[in-house]
């Protein structure tokens, strides 16, 4: 499949502060790409560079086989949705939707037709005559999405569009955006720091930190096979449990303090070197409470019932460990338990490089 957006070795800096350095990214046609990372990782900067709202210090940006590096934002076939909605406060919803088309000098009939179509799609027909100040947050964001829709953009850019909404609305609009992508199948680039949005929406996620892409892959791969410690810790809530350990090749064990864990079932066990310092990572749901020859004995230190499931906190050799169990499970403080790890679902990282082995 051909590429819709190509980011070629771009750099960007504010004065002396370098935000992006030699970053490249290809986004396929019709793909839903999520840029995910903590604040300050450069994801919004990258999006603004793609939109042409910031001037690159180096590199090129291509959209639909067209070098747009120095083109005005309006000439890039893009539509953009902002966190703060960015609706023009002095215009009605209708005028907001049509502003871009009016700026281009589109014929009135065509404008009306397009507005009607977008309004139907987003169920904002009743709001057309209102001012933004008379709308709720969810309605505003619908209008903002509508404004991007009417432009017939080839690429949609979303800059944390749901961050200002409450949890319920967020879920609702997330669903809408997913449906929109299903129906329109445009290329979409979506910036967020919310991993649930990223996991649910993305075809591919690019996890960013310090202006660098840490991992670029499908949500599943990123969740199950995080490329490094940062990605492993950033994705998943509660986050992955980590144990510092040393590998013993002879019996294929890792040693955590006084405890030994058999990791012979780990997929890349052959790549681990004898005596290598590693970080053993296991997700809360991949820990079972059962007694077997490989299990570890410990005590329940805290129980967090969350409805659908229950989190049980314990510790292994001083490292806090969270275990995700069914909501119906019943544990009390100081219960003695035996836990075992699903080794084939675990991740092992090199302590120094922090890369997955």
């Amino acid at each position: 499949m051909k590429n819709s957006v190509e980011v070629k070795n771009i750099s960007f800096s504010y004065g002396k502060t370098e935000i992006l350095n030699d970053l490249s990214l290809d986004i396929k046609e019709g793909e839903f790409m999520v840029l995910l990372g903590p604040s300050g990782c450069g994801k919004t900067t990258l999006l603004n560079c793609i939109a042409g709202l910031l001037d690159l210090t180096d590199g090129q940006i291509w959209i639909e086989d067209d070098n747009v590096t120095w083109k005005e934002p309006k000439d890039r076939y893009i539509g953009m949705v902002f966190q703060s909605y960015a609706l023009y406060p002095s215009m009605t919803v209708e005028k907001n939707l049509s502003f871009g088309l009016r700026m281009m000098g589109t014929a009135k009939d065509l404008i009306n037709e397009k507005i009607k179509k977008a309004a139907n799609l987003l169920q904002i027909n009743e709001l057309l005559k209102r001012k933004p100040s008379q709308l709720s947050g969810g309605q505003r964001q619908r209008v903002a999405i509508g404004r991007a829709l009417v432009r017939d953009a080839k690429v949609f850019l979303f800059d944390e569009p749901l961050s200002n909404l409450d949890a319920k609305l967020r879920a609702e609009l997330r669903y809408e955006i997913k449906k929109l992508h299903r129906d329109l199948s445009n290329t979409m680039i979506y910036v967020t720091h919310d991993q649930i949005e990223a996991m649910t929406l993305a075809d591919r996620i690019s996890v960013m930190k310090d202006g660098l892409i840490q991992q670029l892959d499908t949500p599943k791969q990123i969740y199950n096979k995080p490329a490094n410690l940062f990605v492993a810790g950033f994705i998943g809530s509660p986050s992955m449990n980590f144990l510092n350990a040393k590998f013993e090749k002879s019996n294929q064990n890792i040693i955590v303090g006084n405890k030994q864990i058999d990791i012979s079932k780990y997929e890349n066990i052959n790549n681990v070197i004898n005596d290598q310092e590693v970080v053993f990572g296991i997700r809360p749901e991949n820990i079972n409470i059962e007694k077997n020859e490989n299990s570890i004995h410990c005590k329940v230190e805290l129980v967090e019932p969350m409805g659908a499931d229950t989190l049980v906190w314990t510790s292994v050799e001083g490292n806090p460990i969270s275990i995700r169990l069914e909501g119906s499970s019943n544990f009390n403080l100081n219960d003695e338990i035996n836990i075992s790890f699903d080794i084939n679902k675990s991740s092992i990282f090199d302590s120094k490089s922090e890369e997955r082995i």
């Binding site: 603004n48 934002p73 893009i78 953009m80 902002f82 703060s84 023009y88 871009g100």
Partner: protein
């Protein structure tokens, strides 16, 4: 058993509270006294002014001074009162306010949204200009205007007011625009607006409050100006403040204090009117001009 308080909490007018009111009323009287004196003096005739207490209300209202101050009082050998000064002040203030506010709004917009290298250096330079004493600039500026052929003319004084109003106005517009969500500007750019279109369609419709503040600041500032009008306006365009000073500071003849006070009131009517109708906008203007953002 404890007693349960019933009804609203009893109100105490404590001694401190009374003292507070006494003090603030005294302050208010002090601040009002000159205005009071100004008004009653303008309503007395000269005999009463000479004979009676300056703080006493007039025994008989005399309206003789007002028309005289307006149209007959003498400055030197010309006895046309303040009227020409009023007309001149209007002729100076209206275009000066329009030009300076429009230019500064454009500056503030360009600075807040269209950042480019060096823009802020010049803005800093411009702000520095706000603090340079006029006395350092009047003579060279006079030479520049002379060179341009507009010294001692309406365009000359309008240009000067535009120049000296620019730093503070640009600052308040820039601060206002910088406080708008930048996303709005980004959205407008994606929607295809260019520099001018975004300014007219998106930014200006949102600028009403800050424009009111700027206009108030400029109207009072330019109306009250004395020095620049004196130097740059030329003999035929002298603003009201200059004429007022000329009328009051006559070296010969009998001083007519009631006429002087009428003239003084007349001169401050415009800014006072602006002040009283604009109320908290005026306050906002002061705060916006003073507090750097």
């Amino acid at each position: 058993m404890s007693t349960i308080p019933k009804g609203p909490r009893p109100k105490h007018l404590t001694i401190g509270r009374i003292g507070l009111y006494c003090f603030i009323i005294m302050c208010a009287l002090f601040f009002l006294m000159p205005l009071y004196v100004m008004i009653i003096t303008s309503l007395k005739d000269m005999d009463e002014i000479r004979a009676a207490n300056i703080l006493n209300l007039p025994k008989e209202l005399s309206f003789y001074a007002w028309p005289k101050a307006w149209s007959q009082a003498c400055t030197g050998f010309v006895c046309e009162g303040l009227k020409p000064g009023f007309v001149n002040s209007v002729k100076i203030t209206v275009p000066s306010v329009i030009v300076s506010v429009a230019l500064s709004a454009l500056n503030g917009y360009a600075l807040a949204f269209w950042r480019f290298r060096g823009a802020y250096f010049f803005f800093g330079l411009c702000m520095f200009g706000a603090f340079i004493p006029y006395q350092v600039m009047v003579y060279p500026l006079l030479k520049i205007e002379d060179f341009l052929g507009i010294y001692s003319s309406l365009p000359g004084i309008i240009l000067v007011h535009t120049i000296f109003g620019m730093p503070i106005l640009t600052l308040i517009f820039r601060n206002f625009y910088a406080s708008l969500p930048i996303d709005l500007f980004k959205a407008a750019r994606i929607d295809g607006g260019n520099f001018i279109k975004i300014f007219f369609y998106v930014i200006i419709p949102m600028s009403t409050p800050i424009t009111i503040v700027a206009v108030i600041l400029q109207v009072t500032g330019i109306w009250n100006d004395f020095l620049l009008g004196l130097v740059f306006a030329g003999r035929d365009n002298q603003p009201m403040t200059v004429q007022l000073n000329n009328i009051v500071q006559v070296d010969y003849g009998v001083a007519e204090y009631n006429v002087d006070m009428s003239a003084t009131i007349l001169t401050s009517l415009v800014p006072l009117f602006v002040y009283f109708i604009s109320g908290r906008w005026f306050v906002r203007g002061i705060a916006a001009g003073a507090i750097k953002g």
